[in-house]
Amino acid sequence: MKATAAKPLPHPMEDLIRMDRIPHIWCSGCGTGSVFMACLSAIKESGIPYNEFSMVSGIGCSGRGAGYINVDSFHTTHGRAIPFATGIKMAKPDLNVIVFSGDGDLFAIGGNHFIHAARRNMDITVICVNNLIYGMTGGQVAATTPHKAKSSTTAAGNPETPFNLPLLAYASGATFVARWTMLHSRDIADAVQMALNNKGFSFIEVLSPCPINYGRRNKEKALETLRLYHDNTIIKSNADLSELDIDFKRGVVLGNFINKEKPSHDEQYSKIYHAEAG
């Protein structure tokens, strides 16, 4: 009998992925790819032409996202995805600008840009893959690493306290704020759609495992992390944002917490400056 090799099925997101760049760099067991896929499905489902999208990433494992999406995409410098995205948005406000990056990138080195873009209500969508660690550089402590968790620079446990990211985003002025885990692909995709529809600064935190550089050191196997995401999370969209600290013992709160209307920066600028000039 003659064996014929089965033709592989096309990837459902083939039109949105740079197939010539696959395989990607993400480790097996990494959550980043799932977050990325959920984000792509939202883009696809939005029905908006792909030419009206632009993705910007900083540096890190998650920051490689921009390298795989088949829209105009920018892999910038560490921490600076948001100001790059700001330049794009303000120079061409019709574009949908998505920032896809890591917790270290967006909240340590890039923290100042984050709060200012939120304060301005810059109409961009920021998706943060929060793996609680600096994955790419080998597992150093991040601004999101839980107190007492181990990292390669806090071998005996993190002496610091992490940010509560949704609270920070809200306090800074974000008009859409959500948190999900990478297990919640459907919810992530819905959140990204809502974020795209929200004319303002949108922030989606997605908890995602880094089994290599966080799990290993903290005695948490990849599947155990997923179990925590499944068993120890509570969906509560009307939650008090100040109670969103990440503590799996108490239960981590997920949801689409904030979705409000407020004029975006480009709308305000154009109203005050271009309307009067014209």
Binding site: R18, D20, R21, Y50, N51, E52, S54, V56, A66, G67, N70, V71, D72, S73, F74, H75, T76, T77, R80, I82, P83, F84, A85, T86, G87, I88, K89, M90, A91, K92, D94, L95, N112, H113, H116, Y269, Y273, H274, E276, A277, G278
Partner: protein, 381 residues
């Protein structure tokens, strides 16, 4: 609403003239952060950009300002930022990103005396080497030094043209004295202003390679939304723009990046010469220091010393060949600059050790008086 080109005679300072030059050149986006003595550039352009449908944003720091102009540049806009020493330092990582992603943009540095906070309200030319080497890795940069408000206008247009033509960041290395001095500035008719815009790609979109150069070494540049689906990265990349982590890819990319400037130096380098033909002593200067250098040449000539001036309009790339050629026939060089010997080192590097080369300079805060040049001549020649 005012037009883009304010044709006529104006009495304005250098910073304002620079902003007007940018608008006349077609600048449509400015991301800034206030700093003395460059603040007036941002203030003035924030008023003017809306007239031409452009956008101004004051960012949270100079890193953000510099990064924002790169993002905006990829939408097809001509973009600019302005700063002084401390902000210039903060911009440096992003300057490297602009170089390697071949993103046209203009950065104005109205220099003040450094290091650190230094003398915020007093001029200097101490950032000249930082302009060349401030970001990590090897690269070539274009830097232009205006010496008057008129040149702040004229050279800003040249800076935009070079940045668009060569897809590279261009620095305008001004200083507090030129930035804050007010003089007559003549703005010509729009038809008399030559502006250049980046080449746009033609041909099929699916075959397009973002960094495949034309014969001139420069690749056409699409804008976001044009349908080319570009990927732009600061990682070492191939002609498509995709990251390739290999020695060969690094070599190929760097050869082209450096070559793009080095193979076009005849087009890029601009100098001015004054009484140089029969000169024994060459005074090399640039920016505000070239103003006092003209006086120094005249004073030397009055005393019977054959001095001449080589004024660098572009300081980077450096005119190696010209200095080498002069070194064959003159008795010595004096470099006039408001620092402790930055471009002077370049002159020495090119002139060699057989010929004397001196610095007329100081640590910053004021111009170099022509008398300083005269006393160097008196003591050594």
């Amino acid at each position: 609403m005012k037009p883009a080109v304010l044709t006529g005679k104006h009495f304005i300072n250098g910073d304002v003239a620079c902003a007007e030059g940018a608008i006349a050149a077609g600048c449509k986006f400015f991301g800034g952060y206030p700093i003395t003595p460059a603040t007036e550039v941002a203030e003035h352009i924030s008023e003017r950009l809306p007239d031409v449908g452009g956008t101004f944003i004051q960012m949270e720091d100079e890193i953000a300002a510099m990064t924002s102009i790169l993002g905006a540049a990829w939408t097809g806009a001509k973009t600019m930022t302005s700063t002084s020493g401390p902000g210039f330092s903060l911009m440096m990582e992003t300057v490297g990103l602009a170089v390697v992603t071949e993103t046209p943009c203009v950065v104005v540095n109205v220099q003040r005396a450094g290091p650190s906070t230094g003398l915020p309200t007093q001029g200097a030319q101490g950032d000249m080497m930082q302009a060349k080497w401030g970001s990590h890795g090897d690269y070539e940069i274009i830097a232009i030094a205006p010496s008057s408000p008129q040149e702040m206008f004229d050279f800003t247009i040249i800076a935009f043209n070079l940045s668009e033509k060569y897809r590279t960041p261009v620095f305008i290395m001004s200083d507090e004295i030129v930035g804050h001095m007010s003089e007559k500035v003549v703005i010509p008719k729009p038809s008399k202003i030559k502006t250049i815009s980046r080449k746009k790609p033609k041909g099929p979109k699916n075959k397009f390679k973002l960094y495949k150069p034309d014969a001139d070494g420069v690749a056409p540049m699409p804008a976001i939304g044009d349908g080319y689906k570009v990927h732009v990265t600061g990682l070492t990349h191939d002609e498509i723009g995709y990251p390739v982590m290999s020695i060969e890819a690094q070599e190929e990319m760097m050869t082209r990046l450096l070559g793009k400037i080095r193979n076009n130096i005849d087009d890029i380098i601009m100098t001015e010469q004054y009484l140089l033909d029969d000169a024994d002593i060459v005074i090399v200067s640039y920016g505000v220091s070239s103003r006092t250098s003209y006086t120094a040449v005249d004073m030397a000539r009055e005393k019977g010393v054959k001095a001449g001036l080589l004024r660098l309009i572009t300081v980077w790339p450096f005119p190696d060949a010209l200095i080498k050629e002069l070194a064959q026939r003159v008795k010595g060089f004096i470099t006039v600059e408001i620092n402790l010997g930055q471009i002077c080192r370049e002159v020495q590097r090119c002139a060699g050790t057989d010929i004397p080369s001196y610095l007329a300079g100081h640590a910053g805060g004021a111009v170099v008086p022509p008398e300083d040049v005269l006393s160097i001549i008196k003591e050594n020649f």
